[in-house]
Symmetry: C2
Subunit: 360 residues, 2 copies
């Protein structure tokens, strides 16, 4: 894609594609002061790219936090609130969130609550950020071992998805993003699924740009219709109810795995649940499991971990009146939401993951 | 007023008057779980009243924080988030904020951010809470010495203003509320002003109910038109730009004064500014100063404190591009907003407060 697409939808502007950063950057000068949030990785790899693309932008202050989900906590929010206060950010200021999901989650929450709200813009620099975290207004931090326990639905002024940042990424990030790409294919985009099937994330090379733009637009389509997750947006949670619990489980034992690794495992379990409760047939099931196993090693979860995983799951925000409500697949490219699932079936799905190793 | 008024305006229900609590309480049972936020004072004086009025309501957990503006901080928010997590509050839960401005400010912010938002209702138990803090969706906490530096505009599901709670109040709270009553009179309600003039807050007795309901409705009228403080709502800040700085100043030296005491001093200064910049004439000016001095002792601010007060004011959320913007009086019952004021005039207004003692 040569020129970026500017989807100016309602109050949020989406700038997507090559050159998006330069075009969006022209709007950053409208504010009284401009602040940038980064971590040690984006400082090293992305800030030079940002500065080169926008040489004339005056940045009044750069605020650095520590990278990684393990640092997505209220203490880091306090650091950012403190820095904004010290740097005398006023209500006409803008905060530019330059980084992955942790940066946009913390930066969005802090900007929305500093002086009861200043402007902010997300410039996702990771694959996951570009196709998921930076789009849709979910912000917040983990708390007491629970993911996103404290946060807000709040939209940025703009989301800038520019592939220029992806050149700096390690293999592990591509793998992590691949899990979310699969998810979009499975829940809503059969064309995307067809582009992924039988593939390994290491072999995609020149196709990535196209895949990312497709997934980013899928996400935008969903949140445009249901930003506050009252209905259709819930299908984005496919793989995430169990996946989040797994992610939290590893986080708690200080052995963090990537979001994609957790979601891949979650999708194996929830695909199994889909066959039990939502008419998903045997052949697409195997297709899904094979593609996941082709791209992800199995995690070392055992039978003994199941009760703890269930305990973590019970704290999920999607729990209503003590009942699990899952988003499941009806067929390839089509998901349904709010399927009530008993504890016993969730346990069985985890047992399936543990016992039926590797379909690839 | 014998039966409470139910102003069901848009998504927020206002229940105002005697018996309001009992009527509103019927709706609290709709939620999966019901939690109550209190401080040591409301536990002692208001919780028994609450329980007596709603004997059949099942409360799943009571969360207690420490009273006082000095405790309106992020650490107390963390305590409430922790308690909600431990008590397994889910997204269908409701948090009942039983108390004054500190309770509704903290409770609203925490409820709005716990699991990205649960329901909450404000039951103000102080005069200030009933006519101001609980209405209009301003929530948040003080941070690094600045008032409401971290917070949100977020509306409760309902506000219940029941005079039954006021029977428990000390004199100092009546005095504090009197300053805000005066403010409503001055900025928008000449009838209210006429009911207050030449009076002392200690002598009002049976008239309080009527005054409170009138002021609460004034506040509701304003926030209905401009909840996000883009325009007319700013007139509520009369007396508060300088008043907040004074409140912060005393808070910082661990010698807290009431909100009303600070605002009374702020109104003396800003009435003087109104005569300089907004055509307010001499005779109403003296009327205002006299009524304030009749009800409030002067504070021990000195010339030496002025630079620190100015420094605090520069961090005010209403500052835009480094310039002060005040809400000032045009005449009794009429205010204007966004009047640019130079530092030098603000200093003069404080000198006026210090030098021209007591008009009563």
């Amino acid at each position: 894609m040569k020129s970026p697409v500017n989807l100016d939808l309602g109050t949020i502007a989406y700038n997507i594609g090559e050159g998006a950063l330069e075009i969006a950057g022209k709007h950053f000068t409208k504010f009284s002061k401009c602040f940038l949030l980064e971590d040690e990785n984006t400082e090293r790899y992305c800030l030079p790219v940002f500065k080169k693309a926008l040489p004339n932008l005056k940045v009044h202050g750069i605020i650095r936090i520590q990278s990684g989900e393990v640092n997505k906590n209220i203490e880091q929010c306090i650091i950012v609130w403190e820095q904004l206060t010290k740097l005398k950010a006023d209500r006409d200021s803008i905060l530019i969130n330059l980084g992955g999901g942790v940066i946009s989650d913390i930066g969005g929450f802090v900007a929305a609550t500093y002086k009861r709200g200043i402007h902010f813009v997300n410039i996702p620099t990771t694959l996951l950020g570009q196709i998921d975290a930076a789009i849709g207004g979910k912000t917040g931090v983990d708390f007491m071992g629970f993911k996103n326990q404290v946060g807000l639905f709040i939209d940025p002024m703009a989301v800038v998805v520019d592939p220029i940042f992806l050149k700096t990424l390690d293999d592990i990030f591509w793998q992590s993003g691949f899990a979310e790409l699969m998810k979009y294919g499975l829940i809503m985009d059969r064309d995307l699924w067809a582009m992924l099937i039988h593939r390994n994330y290491k072999e995609l090379d020149d196709e990535w740009n196209k895949l990312i733009m497709k997934a980013a637009k899928d996400k935008i389509d969903i949140v445009r219709f249901d930003n506050s997750e009252k209905g259709i947006r819930k299908i984005l949670n496919f793989g995430h109810t169990i996946g989040h619990a797994i992610e939290t489980f590893y986080l708690k034992k200080n052995d963090a795995i990537t979001h994609g690794q957790a979601i891949a495992a979650g999708m194996i379990c929830e695909t199994w649940l889909s066959s039990q409760l939502s008419e998903l047939e045997g052949s697409p099931q195997c297709e899904i499991w094979k593609l996941i196993d082709k791209n992800f090693d199995r995690l070392d979860i055992t039978e003994e971990n199941i009760s703890e995983l269930l305990h973590i799951m019970k704290q999920d925000k999607k729990i209503r009146k003590g009942k699990f409500r899952f988003s499941l697949l009806r067929r390839l490219g089509k998901a349904i939401h709010d399927v009530e699932v008993d504890d016993s079936l969730v346990i069985e799905s985890l047992q399936f993951y543990i016992q039926k190793q590797n379909f690839s």
